[in-house]
């Protein structure tokens, strides 16, 4: 294994151990939250709503909940880890090493995507308790999950570098990310919206993610999944490049 590989592996390992060793903080919350979502929206309300796009309501909302959990945790992982390291100065111990900026960005992004994927798997597991989980296009599902968790890991890196206080993390997660997801067609079909709101919704990137994962799971989408995948992949590359530039410039890391 080359020196660069060892460096990358070490930081990825450290980042993954950080959240794996704190399951009450990382894995239990999505299990409980999604159990509540499935129970209330899927079972109690879902039985009154009936089928949407040919599937039960609980199966319709499942992909959206997977996206919501996966991207929230991917974002939170990178942003918290980097911000906490800056807050307590221990990220300095990484900066002063011979690790390249590319390796640092890659490590945080890989670990955060891993956390998002694990959360997605947990939510699917919870969903299985309430309903069957179809798998119409598994390759699309894997591709979308990989891309969106990496994208939000990359956005979390920017958030972690930008934040000057814990309040910033709350603002990003609760006031920006969560509303976008809730208006991203997680709980409803775009068809139920008036034309104006439907067009406005198409500006929301979450719509493409939710529809992509929905296509992978239940084979239903309102947007061409190939277009979504290309756009999201391009966005991921851009965000990771911005991460790299910020690390190279030392934004939030050096004086």
């Amino acid at each position: 294994m080359s020196r660069r590989s060892v460096q990358l592996k070490t930081l990825v390992h450290r980042e993954i151990l950080r959240f794996v060793r704190r399951p009450y903080n990382t894995f239990l919350p999505p299990i409980i939250t999604n159990t509540l979502y499935f129970a209330v929206f899927g079972v109690i309300l879902g039985n009154r709503i009936g089928a949407i796009a040919g599937v039960s309501y609980i199966q319709f909302v499942l992909p959206g909940l997977v996206v919501l959990g996966a991207i929230s945790d991917a974002f939170e992982n990178a942003s918290f880890s980097i911000f906490h390291g800056r807050w307590n100065n221990y990220i300095d111990a990484v900066i002063v090493t011979p690790m390249s900026n590319f390796n640092m960005v890659a490590s945080y992004a890989i670990a955060s995507a891993t956390r998002g994927i694990l959360t997605a798997a947990l939510i699917v597991g919870v969903g299985l308790v309430f309903t069957s989980v179809p798998l119409s296009h598994p390759l699309y599902l894997v591709a979308f999950i990989l891309v969106i968790t990496t994208l939000f890991g990359g956005l979390g890196i920017i958030g972690g570098l930008w934040a000057d206080d814990f309040d910033y993390l709350t603002v990003m997660n609760q006031f920006i990310l969560r509303p976008l997801v809730f208006f991203g067609a997680v709980f409803y079909s775009l068809e139920v919206l008036p034309p104006l709101w439907r067009d406005i919704s198409l500006l929301n990137p979450m719509v493409y993610m939710v529809n992509g994962v929905r296509y992978g799971m239940i084979g239903v989408t309102e947007i061409d999944p190939n277009v979504s995948l290309v756009v999201l992949t391009a966005a991921t590359v851009v965000v990771l490049f911005v991460d790299f530039l910020l690390f190279r410039r030392g934004f939030g890391l050096t004086e």
């Binding site: 060793r21 300095d92 090493t97 004086e255």
Partner: protein, 315 residues
């Protein structure tokens, strides 16, 4: 011999504040180099530029010939840093923190574990290997910072106030450890507020004041620049100073409590002639004391109100 650190006209500004104002100096490989200066002199800024925590505003800085910005990976690979602040990963036991540190330098996991254990034994806290940093005592925390700096076997060990707030025994233990490392070929860059530490350990010291190098010299040379004090006690106390030939070696002559007090830049050289002269003049000497100026006194004199810099001192 290659310079471990080569600095040329290094500058750093934080807005309107100038932290480093054209610092130039060279630290020879294998040397024990002290960086002294009052608070705010720019010592930590200087160190942080070398390791990449501060971006320079101008000038050049090289570590073993590698530019700290364009060849940062090569430069940082040679450095072990024990900072003043406790900037340690709180999520993991200290042994794992050291394993991670070694891994960031590209050392494979098996070897990283061996090195972590060796470093913890070297500083005497191996039995605490499964403890998190927050639960260590103050002295152990200092030891741990040294272990973290050593785990990658650096060629340049930078110690920023390593003995701040530690007890006398630990300070001596650390002195012994870093002296051994230096004798083994490791270049040491030490910043300290304990002037005795620099006097005792360093081959050469630079005094930094207001972001500029006031002087670079050996501790002995610096002490020679100070004024020694010769106190002569006579059997019969005197009221006025005797008439003595100074030959330009004496700075001042006076009387305190019936004793003759002489200030001279090299008291050890003046004293024998002085004794002979007083003896010949009929004075009966019962005691003679030559107190050499301390490095601390020279330091205080040089950094008082930035006088050294204003006087044009340079490296």
């Amino acid at each position: 011999m290659e310079a471990a650190i080569e600095i040329d006209d290094l500058r750093k500004r934080y807005g309107d504040v100038t932290a480093l104002d054209g610092v130039s100096l060279s630290v020879p490989e294998g040397s024990f180099f002290g960086l002294l200066g009052p608070n705010g002199a720019g010592k930590t800024t200087f160190i942080n530029i070398l390791v990449g925590l501060v971006r320079k505003s101008g000038g050049e800085a090289r570590v073993f010939g590698h530019d700290v910005e364009t060849e940062y990976r090569e430069a940082r690979d040679r450095i072990g840093l024990a900072p003043q602040e406790f900037n340690v990963d709180r999520f993991f036991p200290i042994r794992e923190v050291l394993e991670h540190k070694a891994g960031y330098h590209g050392i494979p996991a098996d070897e990283a574990r061996e090195r972590a254990d060796a470093a913890l034994k070297q500083v005497g806290i191996y039995e605490k290997r499964d403890t998190r940093f927050d639960w260590l005592s103050g002295g152990m925390k200092r030891r741990f910072l040294i272990a973290r700096a050593l785990v990658t076997d650096p060629d340049l060990l930078i110690l920023d106030e390593p003995t701040a707030g530690v007890d006398v025994q630990l300070r001596h233990d650390l002195w012994e450890l870093i002296t051994e490392l230096n004798e083994g070929g490791t270049t040491i860059l030490l910043t300290t507020h304990y002037i005795e530490e620099a006097e005792r350990l360093c081959d050469e010291v630079a005094i930094l004041d207001q972001g500029q190098v006031a002087t670079v010299s050996t501790p002995d040379e610096l002490m020679d620049r100070g004024t020694d004090r010769i106190t002569v006690t006579f059997r019969d106390p005197i009221r006025s100073p005797p008439d003595i030939a100074t030959n330009g070696q004496v700075d001042a002559v006076g009387v305190e409590d019936g004793r003759l007090v002489i200030s001279a830049s090299r008291g050890g050289l003046v004293a024998p002639d002085l004794v002979r002269e007083l003896d010949a003049a009929g004075y009966e000497i019962v005691d003679l004391d030559v107190s050499r100026t301390s490095l601390e006194e020279v330091f205080v004199e040089m950094t008082r109100n930035g006088s050294s810099v204003a006087d044009g001192g340079e490296a």
